[in-house]
């Protein structure tokens, strides 16, 4: 099939970006979307134009490196699918496809379709872990964990950190990302000792970078792992409780 691509080109952060139109012919339906960009980049390179910068790595939907706005949808139109798993059979001959980088103030465009998502790592650094030094752990079976709790924790832990939730959100909020980590650890017995400090610290770090959640639910739809916004409800509850639990005297933080 033959397609028209409107691709965001931007030399660097400070430069002005613009859309450029490319026609790509003989696209196979069993090619992936990123393979389409590979083919286009090969042609651009040979024609003396700089290829389009885009990020990707595992191409199996698990590393979270790739992420494009495809026709206005984060990761494209297919639910529960990262851009690398998007295949051209979803498109039809003659289609025009608009390709943009993640759109969010917190994600600075670095070049073309590449953005800086490091604020997400800052949220994890604020408490998205369980403190345990190597060698100090008790036997793994000493604390049985109900299967349901383990499964729910795994549902949340499935987050790949791609940032689609932020890109899809009209407020550029990172609630789903933050909630997924808070819930993953907060649902497990191992995560209890730091549960309240974690919730408070992660939320406050999140708010330094990102917008506020107003329950649009776009994040859940964009999430390649279909992580449920129920976790956001859990996050909100934990945050409020944390505010009480974390103070030892009225008006004073521990």
């Amino acid at each position: 099939m033959d397609l028209t691509l409107r691709v965001w080109r931007q030399e660097k952060s400070e430069a002005r970006g613009r859309f450029k139109v490319y026609r790509v012919t003989d696209v196979r339906p069993d090619m992936s979307f990123l393979e389409l960009l590979d083919v286009l980049n090969d042609r651009l390179t040979l024609a003396g134009e700089e290829p389009i910068a885009f990020e990707h790595d595992c191409r199996e939907g698990i590393c979270g490196t790739c992420g494009l706005m495809v026709n206005g949808h984060a990761h494209g139109p297919q639910l529960g699918t990262a851009t690398c798993q998007l295949h051209m059979r979803l498109f039809s001959d003659g289609d025009t496809i608009v390709v943009e980088p993640w759109r969010a103030a917190a994600f600075r465009v670095l070049k073309d379709l590449v953005v800086d998502r490091s604020p997400l790592d800052r949220i994890i650094e604020a408490g998205g872990y369980i403190t345990v030094s190597a060698g100090s752990a008790p036997d793994a079976n000493v604390t049985p964990i109900p299967k349901e709790a383990a499964e729910a924790a795994m549902d949340a832990a499935a987050c790949i950190g791609c940032g689609a939730c932020v890109a899809a959100c009209p407020n550029s909020a990172a609630q789903l990302f933050t909630a997924a980590k808070v819930a993953h650890l907060g649902l497990l017995p191992q995560g209890q000792p730091e549960r309240w400090s974690r919730a408070e610290s992660m939320v406050e770090t999140m708010e330094r970078f990102f917008g506020s959640c107003t329950n649009h639910g776009e994040c859940e739809k964009a999430c390649p792992k279909s992580i449920s916004i129920d976790f956001i409800a859990m996050l909100n509850r934990d945050f409020v409780r944390a505010k009480w639990k974390n103070r030892s005297l009225a008006g004073q933080k521990r």
Partner: protein, 640 residues
Amino acid sequence: MTVALDAKIPKAPIEDMWEKHRFELPLISPVNRGRFEVIVVGTGVAGASLASTLGELGYRVKVFTYHDSYRRAHSVAAQGGINAAKNYRGDGDSIFRLFHDTVKGGDFRSREANVYRLAQVSAEIIDQCVAQGVPFAREYGGLLATRSFGGVQVSRTFYARGATGQQLLLGSFQALARQVAAGTVELHTRAEMLDLVTVDGRAAGIVVRDMLSGEISAHSAHAVVLATGGYCNVYFLSTNAKANNASAIWRAHRKGARMANPCFTQIHPTSIPADHEFRSKMTLMSESLRNDGRVWVPKQERDTRAPDQIPANERDYYLERRYPAFGNLVPRDVASRAAKNMVDEGYGVGPLANSVYLDFAEAVERVGRDTIKERYGNLFEMYQRITGEDPYEGPMRIAPAPHFSMGGLWVDYNLETTVPGLFAIGEANFSDHGANRLGANSLLQGLTDGYFVLPSTITSHLAPLLGTEPVPSDHPAFGEAEAAARERVRRFLATKGSRTVDWFHRELGRTMIEHCGMTRRAEGLQRGIAEIRALREEFHRDVLVPGENESLNQSLEKAGRVSDFFELAELMCRDALHREESCGGHFRVEHQDEDGEAKRNDEDFSYVAAWGFAGEDAESTLVKEPLEFSYAKPTQRSYR
């Protein structure tokens, strides 16, 4: 010049080696640890677990990764699980059995002492990861679930759905995040190592390119650790992530670190086949699928009927037929070669007749669709996205693909390479898997090296350096290395040839899979070397790298990596050529028995081949580390 390799294997019964060695290693007191700087390159399970552990212990750590975030490394894609000798099932597992299975699975080409340590530490790894909140699968009673994997008859593989690698990586990523926040670890993302710097033959630091600004800078430390993964992308089409490369270990090799058994690569039997020429990578379907899936091809050659039109008695379940004891769970090398034979003989299926079926119909009937979905749901989804076919309805099509490199930098028992002060951990070293890695052992190795082994053994190098500063990064050796790196970048950009880097990479991959892939023969390897040399020469004359150094330039990044792959590829062929035997993933057509099974030659080849760099156009020098098997007696591997 004769060089002897000292593997520093402790003199003690194998069960006591690690304990004794740890006691004999020097300690560094907590107050002094902050006086040591350590560079860690790579943030997969090995690098992240090491960096976090060293940070926690109080060392000053600098971490480098070429990713945008330190949560992305390809450990993330390991699906099936992680082995541990917990014997929670009471099915006869033990440390010795995991050790024995690993040595046997590796076809008696690994070092007993290292493998035993791996098995010993395995139980602690599971404890550590559970304590970190890794959501392993559980039974209804709340205890940990396990499953079995290829090449073993016990159930010792712990898993988190089909995303065990992701969860284990996130565990170590989070541990590292804690250290980054605490300030013990200095983090450098989007920073690619271009060279190792040595002073008087010792590791002094690295040269790094900032991938956004193109700035090339030097960093020094008391020790350098490479945790940079494997090199299967030398085949272009592999299950590895696109950015995986051999440059860090190859640059270290050029500076004196010996490469061990480079021809030992693993071709994984269950990947989604490449159905067209634009396929950019192979996607793995976890080996765990072989627990419930049955592998078959039509009995009739070039049978083009749809699978559901082929009745049971016209199907050849060839693994079950040839290997009744292990059936569909034979080790990877055996399963891959069997599939290749079937395809070569004309029984392949799919549009390019290059794959075999993996069928779940019987399992769905036996345990129900829901159970299968719970076990493999994400894999089935992934398969459907890529192929457009529904594996609940019909069988999957699978094909072998390069997956893991058992070879790597030679390291001793302390995981130190032949360059003092340079260490290699995880897939970057060669140590534990011999000629074939058992499924679910690679996450185990990465975490073992990172959490428990190197944090102990690194003191052997550091302790004597107490009171000394690292070589300052304005030492002339750093300046020279920086200048060489800049010159290399300049040359790539200045060549302005007529072919893209990817074109060369694809061509190299084609040559490698043909001559140094699942089966190898002397004349093919000779031809391979000639082709690689010609291609390498053409690359340096005719490559087209657009853009400039001073901004994000993905073509330039690839050019450096592919350039190193050429040199590595030649060494792989040379190693394969010299190893006149078949063992594990290395199958020489000249060395097989009447049934087509691999014929190992213990008398002449029971050693680690450690190659030294002698120059781009000179032949590498070979040094052998003899292997002794006192506990796992070499037998011909039989899975029949």
